[in-house]
Symmetry: C2
Subunit: 311 residues, 2 copies
């Protein structure tokens, strides 16, 4: 969300010499992504995103993330391809950080998605799942059932500081989900964080899906559930009618859901809502009050959870 | 230095309809400028900077800043022109903030300027002074002698928290400068903050001078002194031989300095070093320790001050 690692023009110009991308024209630090440093870089050869990976990303995961996006981009999916240097390397070191030069994709993220946007999102998500089917690396989902248990435990008794209702809600949901979490559904490599701000639209079609830094191997229908939780509600967690249904039916028409997946979807949606509730609660309780970072309200996902619970 | 005010793609697309600049293609919040929110905006018609003015800028000063940059840009100087909408307005309101769509200029800021860069800077600064000579608005320099006195007083006894030597150094310099501050030198509209990070180079020539939000009416030679203090030392305040002399001689060959200006230059440089020492000290003492904003070391300007003092 900010520029944590400064890269001078001199260092950047030298870095770009590793690549066949022309010479530096312009560079602006941009406020984007999950706690990484990002520059929008223009060269005589084109435009790129330069990402420097900060502490929150595990360097051991980077080959998986970059490999997956390269795999998807090669299939023509709207995913930013990592750029390889003259020696074929995508992953680099720059200013003491792991770094990657990445294709720049045009487009803007919508803040209030319509059903038409959700239709595009469902189609694209199905396309990503189909495209990733023959990607041969795997990464366990650290933010699934056991990860939530750990996260909830690490918050200790502090959930009540956010809202009195939270400790009971989380305990109850964790119990229900632990007993009912689906097994044996089709799995693959999933984005796991396809919120509207990670999707770029050009006019009315999707020109980019970005920020694959939560990508992992898990149930495909769980990715659809995450996307449902991300798109079908407004910022405060109020349901926006028609969006979720359109998303699911659009996905289904491009990657048909089995009866088992359909049946599991409400449970998966509860899990997705709990996942973001817990990570937001963690950030809420651990971000200094005067930090520049915008804290996102965990209660917006508590409201989603109650919605899925009641549905 | 961050995105303080979020502008959704929907709001931005609607805002751009006021202008004859085409439709929205891409928008990225950028980490640039003096506590304003800046977006790098691409439309079907070109690229622009969208600035939303946050609390630190006095809205009453905006017509002066925008008028001055428009005046200079119209003369072909490398200054980003404010864009006027279909009704001729440059200054707008957006999301509750004063805002302006501004020409995007390519180029990168150098971190370690060479004498060749300083030669360009001297020529460009002289050009700005000549170009602004017939600009008919004025703005008092709030950060000159009386402003420094106020700032020093507002810091109370806290300067010693930064370094034991600072209280005496500041008191002594304030006294000397109050007695010797030049009067009657040629005045005009000056940039007053032309640090290397406010100057964009394309290859080896200047393609942009940005961030006019400290511009004011003051002695032209004081602007040269600020630029000297900004360019002739490294980040820690160590003199970089040859840079300052080149800057001054390049300026002189494009806007000849009078004998009085030459004679006053050492005093003006001491004033410039004190000005940035005091504002950095203020920020140092008033920025929360865990804020994302990078605090700049006031002692780098104490070292400059001692250099000018000894010279």
């Amino acid at each position: 969300m900010a520029v944590y690692t400064q890269v001078s023009a001199e260092a950047l110009a030298m870095f770009l010499e590793r690549y066949d991308v022309g010479t530096l024209v312009s560079a602006k630090g941009i406020a984007e992504g999950v706690e990484n440093t990002n520059y929008l870089v223009e060269t005589t050869g084109g435009r790129f995103i330069l990402t420097l990976y900060e502490k929150r990303v595990d360097a051991d995961d980077l080959p998986y993330f970059l490999g997956l996006t390269e795999h998807l981009a090669e299939k023509g999916l709207p995913v930013p391809a990592p750029i390889r240097d003259r020696e074929g390397r995508a992953l680099q070191m720059l200013n003491g950080r792991h770094a990657c030069l990445i294709e720049f994709l045009s487009g803007v993220s919508v803040s209030a998605p319509t059903a038409a946007h959700a239709r595009e999102a469902g189609e694209t998500l199905a396309g990503l799942h189909r495209g990733a089917a023959d990607f041969d690396s795997q990464r366990a989902n650290a933010l699934s059932l056991s990860g939530w248990l750990e996260l909830a435990a690490s918050l200790g008794g502090r959930l009540g500081e956010i809202d009195k209702s939270l400790p009971d809600l989380v305990t109850q949901e964790m119990t229900v989900l632990a007993e009912n979490w689906p097994q044996g559904l089709p799995s693959g490599n999933i984005h796991a964080d396809m919120f509207p701000d990670n999707v770029l639209f050009s006019d009315s079609s999707i020109s980019g899906v970005i920020d694959f830094y939560f990508a992992c191997t898990d149930m495909l229908a769980y990715d659809l559930a995450v996307t449902h939780a991300a798109w079908a509600f407004d910022d405060e967690g109020a349901l926006q009618p028609g969006i979720g249904e359109t998303l699911v039916e659009s996905y289904h028409s491009h990657r048909p859901l089995s009866d088992e997946e359909r049946e599991a979807l409400p449970t998966l949606c509860r899990g997705a809502a709990l996942r973001f509730l817990l990570t937001r609660a963690y950030d809420w309780l651990n971000t200094p009050a005067d930090a520049v970072v915008v804290k996102k309200d965990p209660m917006a996902f508590a409201r989603r959870l109650l919605h899925y619970h009641a549905a």
